[in-house]
Amino acid sequence: MKLLVAVKRVIDFNVKPRVKADGSGVDLANVKMSMNPFDEIAVEEAIRLKEKGVATEIVAVSIGPAKATETLRTALAMGADRAILIQTDDELEPLAVAKLLAKVTEEEEPSLVILGKQAIDDDSNQTGQMLAALLGWPQGTFASKVEVSGDKVEVTREVDGGLETVKLNAPAVVTTDLRLNEPRYASLPNIMKAKSKPLAQKTPADYGVDTTPRLTVVKVVEPSKRQAGVKVASVDELVGKLKALGVVA
């Protein structure tokens, strides 16, 4: 079985984002960029399925600037077999990304496409669900466990009330949640090896997808800031504060 994983290059999760003074967006100049953390979990899950003998080949796809090559090399160093970069300097919306991924899926015919549940920059949480809709495939979103047996994929999902398990008929789309696995670090030899793994370069035009944005960003501002309050020195003082706030009688 072939697996497709979608990996996005985003601001590193340890960096505090700064809004540009002109209100046009978030300043990404000279900011550390990394693979979206949920996508690392997606790549890891694919590798584990391959190690278990369920999957035979892992293809990683990224849509983004030339620098997204680095993100794909990371996926290859972790254990993906080959990569596809759909290069564009435009910031594509989830709908356009899903349409491109649908085209790649039609070409590659994987049994499972694994994505992150959410990109930590746009916080959309849409692409996987959209891809599933476009393909007419089932979706196992926010996965904390994935089990493949034959053409059935059992996915345990993290939901507001706890956990829920659904059974999907493959081919299917899965999006990862935090507890699915702990991604591995690529070893130095594997980083070296990844340099010679195949990486195909494409453009959105190659797939004939209209990527015109549907949303215009009017402006981007900082949220209202909270002021640090007071420090109290003892539990008694804390109780006093809570009483003053009417939290306790």
Binding site: D123, F142, D160, L215, R226
Partner: protein
């Protein structure tokens, strides 16, 4: 404008998150509701009482019994022929279904809106809430998820909607429900709790997490939350996680104990009215947003606090 709001329900009751979505929808125009599920007569009756709503479309069918997006999304897409905007609460159910609807309609969804600025303009958080974007949609129909903490809840009483049955779009045969392991708790749900006590990695074990936090929560009649680190370590189940990628909460009082205050955690609680932090590190970032801070060892402070309340 005619809007359609997805009613989220559980055990025959309309969930609170729906009421915030109704308020957001009412800023756009007429509000109609969709109740999808199996044996949802009582939910439909209750939904019809929500203040200010028009029709309640009811799709009662086994195919909708477990909110499978594969079955619910085509139902919504069909109903959207007669509506201009679809709004769902930004819950795990809404987030699962709405983007699937959006793609079926060839619409770019607007996720987790914080405000309605006009018929086609909304604000939404990006980058873990470190930036707020105002976006304008050019799609003819809108698909939106609504952040529950950003809108007042519509009144659950006083409305007189008319109930209309809609025919099922059937089971698409793509997926099936296997089972659920839902957390059982007598405590208030995080997204509607007035007070939340929340614990982090510092608790060290599940036993200590519960031995210390449960009595405090009992005293305060509070909901219990956790940081990602506490959930990852198994101190608390996943549905306790507060943050960018967990639950977004805004209680009257949020008490963060042994939580450092990473941006991903702050994203989920910084709109709380009052934030209290207990941490042994006086430089912990959580103190930058806390109204009241106490520096010290939680293993001493929490029992003392519980005792003195």
């Amino acid at each position: 404008m005619k809007t359609l709001v997805l009613v989220e329900h559980e055990g025959g009751k309309v969930k609170d998150a729906t009421l915030a979505a109704v308020t957001a929808a009412s800023k756009l125009g007429e509000v109609h509701l969709l109740v999808a599920g199996q044996g949802v007569g009582a939910v439909a009756e209750a939904a019809a009482k929500i203040a200010g709503i028009g029709k309640v479309h009811v799709a009662d069918d086994a195919a909708y019994g477990h909110n499978l997006a594969e079955n619910v999304a085509p139902l919504v897409a069909a109903l959207m022929e007669g509506h201009d905007a679809f709004l769902a609460p930004a819950t795990t159910t809404g987030k699962n279904v709405a983007p699937r609807v959006a793609a079926l309609l060839d619409v770019m969804q607007i996720s987790e809106i914080l405000s309605v600025e006009g018929d086609d303009t909304f604000t939404r958080p990006i980058y873990a809430g470190n930036a707020i974007a105002t976006v304008k949609s050019s799609d003819a129909k809108k698909v939106i998820t609504v952040r529950g903490t950003a809108f007042e809840k519509a009144s659950a009483e006083g409305g007189s909607g008319t109930i209309e049955n809609v025919s099922s779009t059937g089971d698409k045969g793509l997926s099936s429900f296997v089972g659920a392991e839902l957390s059982k708790s007598e405590r208030p749900e995080l997204t509607s709790a007035k007070i939340i006590v929340s614990g982090g990695r510092a608790f060290g074990s599940s036993e200590q997490f519960h031995a210390l936090l449960d009595p405090l929560a009992d005293k305060l009649k509070a909901g219990v939350g956790a940081s990602r680190a506490a959930v990852d370590a198994g101190y608390a189940p996943n549905d306790y996680q507060v943050g960018q990628t967990g639950k977004i909460v805004a209680p009257e009082v949020y008490i963060a104990i042994g939580i450092s205050g990473a941006i991903q955690h702050l994203a989920g609680m910084k709109d709380s009215k009052v934030i209290v932090a207990i941490n042994k590190d006086e430089d912990a970032p959580i103190f930058q947003v806390a109204d009241v801070g106490l520096v010290g060892d939680l293993f001493k402070i929490v029992p003392e606090l519980t005792g003195k309340l």
